[in-house]
């Protein structure tokens, strides 16, 4: 397996090397970086031209310049990176420009990809299991629409329409009765389609889920929750019980008493530990605290699973660990929303709560509070992530649906059914893993589209991130800046490829063996 991944890694790096040469030469030939100066009548223009030509070695052909650039990149291996300087950015070293831009782009790309995979695979699988249902037809049609949406149009719409509407809603948070009705009916419809079965079951699931969602919205509306959103103990309890139920349902089912017990213990532990963790979050105000808490929760889950598991230790421990790990999300969200009022007080008056410009609020950047900064990032990332996610979501949904349909018609699925396994075991153990093999390939292929989408989204939302490096660099023929962007995205592409290969070999035993 390692040789497989290593061989693929070397091949990808070689391909990247050749690609970097092509991009460098093409960019260098795409225009004249001195055009503005050449047209200028300024008496110092000649000196400027001579100075820049010397600085960028413009008298050499691009091929030679590429190799000196490559030498600078190669020096990274001995700790002396030199990616050149960016003329477009006042002779700032490119490595500095990347350092300031990488974080936000990475967050955006990762969040959008992970969300698209999780939601897309979930929707695609449920539509495949309920093939030819009304839900299936609606989703299939919507994926066609999403597939045809230009990302810049969606992003501008979200920015000018979604953000303004939502911000004015937050200014006066009253949910109109008809939107509660519509949301309730839609959720009930989705639930009843996914659950399926007899008319009775469908009606029950429709009424319980649709009514539940509507009741929750009415409750939030009456208590004026949206004026100052918070999670609190009630929120943590609700969210961790819900995650526990979903994980249990997909992994072992409720009939497995030991798993039920283990998950129950972990959920209770999450709620109980939320109080001491608050002090930890407050006094160790550092992003790494999240990792620490995640490790603690996963460890607790494994421990509980190990002691409660009985015969099925591995399965129960895995389920409990997943529930524990996911339990960190409400804890962190709670910390972030505790600072809601402080956040609202600090943002500029002209901005709404959901920001549409930039990747963070400068005034909050200066405050040394991890959770406040996280909340700030969240509100800034919300719309760009949705815009970027929508396009990938359609692709993942379609592939997941097609792939699961293929697998469900295989002989080994019939065999699994024939030996009397339950539907959940057939779908989750036998079909799901095999259906994920093509999805792992899509992750690497889809990456290019996500990077392209990020360039556009960042432009619409005016982020000073990797996308603006590329835009600015290419408009002003600043080869070093463009290559800095290309280097980072290339490395990201390699990482995504390796992840896809690892997933691939984890899912497909044929690769592990050879």
């Amino acid at each position: 397996m390692l040789t497989f991944v290593a061989r693929r890694l070397v091949a990808t790096l070689l391909v990247l090397l050749v690609a970097s040469f092509i991009v460098y030469v093409l960019t260098a030939n795409s225009g004249d970086p001195l055009r503005e100066l050449r047209g200028s009548r300024d008496p110092s223009a000649q000196d400027q031209i001579a100075y820049l030509s010397g600085l960028l070695n413009l008298d050499q052909p691009p091929v030679l310049r590429y190799f000196s650039w490559l030498g600078g990149v190669g020096a990274c291996f001995i700790g002396q990176c030199d990616l050149g300087i960016s003329v477009a950015r006042g002779e700032q070293p490119v490595i500095e420009a990347i350092g300031g831009a990488l974080g936000s782009t990475l967050q955006l790309v990762l969040a959008a990809t992970i969300l698209a995979i999780v939601i897309g695979v979930a929707i695609g699988m449920t539509t495949a299991l309920r093939q030819y249902s009304g839900y299936d037809y609606v989703v299939t049609f919507l994926t066609f629409v999403f597939y045809s949406l230009p990302i810049f149009w969606v992003a501008v719409l979200l920015k000018e329409f979604g953000a303004i509407q939502f911000n004015s809603f937050l200014g006066n948070p009253v949910i109109p009765w008809w939107s509660i009705l519509v949301i309730g009916i839609v959720m009930g419809f989705i639930a009843s389609s996914v659950v399926g079965g007899e008319l009775r079951t469908r009606v029950i699931s429709f009424v319980s889920v649709g009514g539940g969602v509507a009741a929750l919205l009415i409750l939030l509306d009456v208590t004026r929750w949206f004026e100052s959103p918070s999670i609190g103990y009630v929120g943590i309890a609700l969210m961790s019980v819900a995650t526990g139920a979903v994980v249990l349902f997909t992994s072992t089912g409720f009939h497995n008493r030991r798993a039920l017990l283990a998950v129950g213990i972990v959920v209770v532990l999450t709620i109980a530990l939320s109080w001491p963790f608050q002090f930890l979050f407050y006094y160790v105000n550092n992003p790494w605290t999240v990792v620490l808490v995640l490790a603690i929760m996963v460890g607790l889950g494994l421990l509980v699973g190990f002691f409660v598991g009985g015969d099925g230790k591995a399965v129960v421990a895995r389920t409990a660990a997943i529930v524990g790990g996911l339990g960190v999300i409400p804890l962190v969200l709670d910390q972030m929303f505790i600072r809601w009022d402080e956040y609202v007080a600090r943002i500029p008056l002209s901005n709404g709560v959901i920001a549409t410009i930039g990747a963070s609020t400068p005034a909050i950047r200066r405050v040394d509070d991890t959770w406040l900064n996280m909340l700030d990032s969240l509100t800034h990332m919300l719309l760009p992530t949705i815009a970027l996610m929508i396009i990938s979501l359609a692709a993942y949904t379609r592939y997941a649906r097609a792939s699961l349909l293929d697998v469900m018609n295989q002989d080994y699925v019939r065999t699994a059914r024939a030996k009397g396994l339950g539907e959940r075991t057939v779908v989750m153990r036998h079909a799901f893993r095999n259906a994920m093999i093509p999805i792992a390939t899509i992750i690497a292929l889809d990456f290019g589209a996500v990077i392209g989408g990020a360039v556009i989204t960042e432009r619409v939302f005016a982020w000073q991130a990797m996308g603006s490096l590329f835009n600015e660099g290419l408009h002003r023929i600043d080869v070093n800046l463009v290559m800095g962007f290309f280097l980072v995205t290339g490395i990201l592409a390699v990482i995504f490829n390796v992840i896809a290969d690892l997933l691939y070999s984890a899912l497909d035993p044929r690769i592990r063996v050879s």
């Binding site: 091949a11 990808t12 391909v15 990247l16 050749v18 690609a19 092509i22 991009v23 093409l26 960019t27 030939n29 795409s30 225009g31 495949a128 299991l129 093939q131 030819y132 249902s133 009304g134 839900y135 037809y137 609606v138 299939t140 049609f141 066609f144 629409v145 597939y147 045809s148 949406l149 230009p150 990302i151 810049f152 149009w153 501008v156 000018e160 389609s193 008319l199 349909l405 469900m408 018609n409 539907e423 779908v427 990456f447 290019g448 589209a449 990077i451 392209g452 360039v455 556009i456 619409v460 590329f470 835009n471 290419l474 408009h475 023929i477 463009v482 290309f486 995205t489 290339g490 592409a493």
Partner: protein, 372 residues
């Protein structure tokens, strides 16, 4: 769970022809494909919508053949004329001239009741240009790019894929490594660099995108060739003394036409999004030429005051891409040999019908259907 209905299989036991075979008995391959395509209502509607849009775009404001699209004052100096051979259309306004502002702020003159288009149905921009004419010209350019890229990419992809798949060995290695190199650079990035190089001309941009967008097609065609070249009819042709050229183009290629047509269609729907995105970023078609993405980019800041500058070009992009995607889906269904009897007409109207039918007991769509 999945609707596995054994009825069709049981019926075919002991009979010479299954239902699917009986439905297509005595029909040529082309007739079967045509019939299946016509049964996909969404695809058929899309064909008509797309044809209507093409006609509307090219006849309404007329077009310009050749030329650079640059504007020069005519000898009398009263109006601008566009460079190239101009074919006039039936719409009164042009996309480059300024008109008196009819409604305050240049709002659309289109009204439902009483129904009337008015002088500027899509409104005017801040300099008084007619948005309808601009959107039509933008649509022309975007459609031109789509078709040129479709042709160039398909030809390159098919030839390279066929050579790689047929000859294997070092030819295959060379072509596939070239494909890998192009695929690892995001298409938008490579397209932007090339677009910046050629500087805003629609035709050249289309050629450039065509030169880089063939990779997916090449991979698909190569895979098809790898499996087809092992079949008996290829051996038979070789034994009969056919040349490599003849085997590739007369014997194997006709068998891959389904894959090629479907993939070319889907490529074209991706291209319209790519071209408009590039133009939006300023690396595609640029002023004085017009594309749908370039219109949106130009009026991006005016959303709050003049939303009509923004709605129409975006809507046309979505409709064109959606139509091409639906046609591609219909073609895939038509060419797919695994495709059996389609349970119901999978069109738009019946989708909405099924949406409601799902709640009437006993009429679940999917009952009495056959999986592929």
């Amino acid at each position: 769970m999945t609707d596995k209905n054994p009825v069709a299989d049981e019926q075919s036991v002991g009979q010479e022809l299954s239902i699917e075979q009986r439905a297509t008995v005595g029909l040529s391959q082309g007739a079967i494909v045509r019939r299946r395509f016509l049964h996909h209502r969404g695809a058929v509607i899309s064909v008509f919508v797309l044809l209507f849009l093409v006609l509307l775009a090219f006849t309404s404001v007329g077009t310009v053949l050749g030329g650079t699209g640059k504007l020069t004052p005519d000898p009398t100096g009263t109006r601008l004329i566009v460079d190239g051979f101009r074919i006039p259309g039936w719409w009164g306004a042009t996309w480059w001239e300024r008109y008196d502002i009819v409604l305050p702020g240049g709002a659309p003159t289109f009204t439902w009741w009483p129904f009337s288009f008015g002088e500027h149905p899509f409104g005017q921009d801040n300099t008084g240009k007619d948005v309808f004419a601009r959107v039509m010209r933008g649509m022309q350019q975007s459609l031109n790019v789509v078709f040129i890229v479709g042709i160039i990419s398909t030809v390159i992809g098919v030839v390279l894929g066929a050579l790689a798949g047929y000859y294997r060995g070092w030819v295959d290695q060379l072509i596939m490594r070239l494909t890998d190199v192009i695929i690892i650079v995001p298409l938008l990035i490579l397209g932007a660099v090339l677009g910046q190089t050629i500087g805003g001309d629609a035709f050249l941009l289309a050629v450039m995108i065509g030169l880089i967008a063939w990779t997916g097609m090449a991979r698909l065609v190569r895979a098809e060739f790898l499996s087809l070249r092992e079949r008996e009819f290829v051996d038979a042709a070789r034994v009969a003394g056919a040349s490599d050229f003849r085997i590739i183009f007369r014997h194997i290629l006709p068998n891959t036409v389904g894959v090629i047509v479907v993939s070319a269609t889907l490529l074209m729907s991706a291209v319209i999004l790519l071209e408009t995105s590039l133009s939006f970023l300023g690396f595609g078609i640029t002023d004085p030429d017009i594309s749908l993405g370039q219109i949106i980019s130009q009026y991006n800041e005016a959303f709050k005051t003049r939303p009509w500058l923004f709605w129409w070009p975006g809507l046309f992009i979505v409709v064109i891409a959606l139509c091409i995607n639906f046609i591609g889906d219909g073609l895939r269904d038509a060419f797919d040999p695994r495709q059996k009897r389609v349970p119901r007409q999978r069109g738009l109207g019946s989708e909405i019908g099924n949406f409601f039918k799902a709640y009437i007991p006993g009429t679940r769509p999917g009952d009495g259907t056959v999986n592929k």
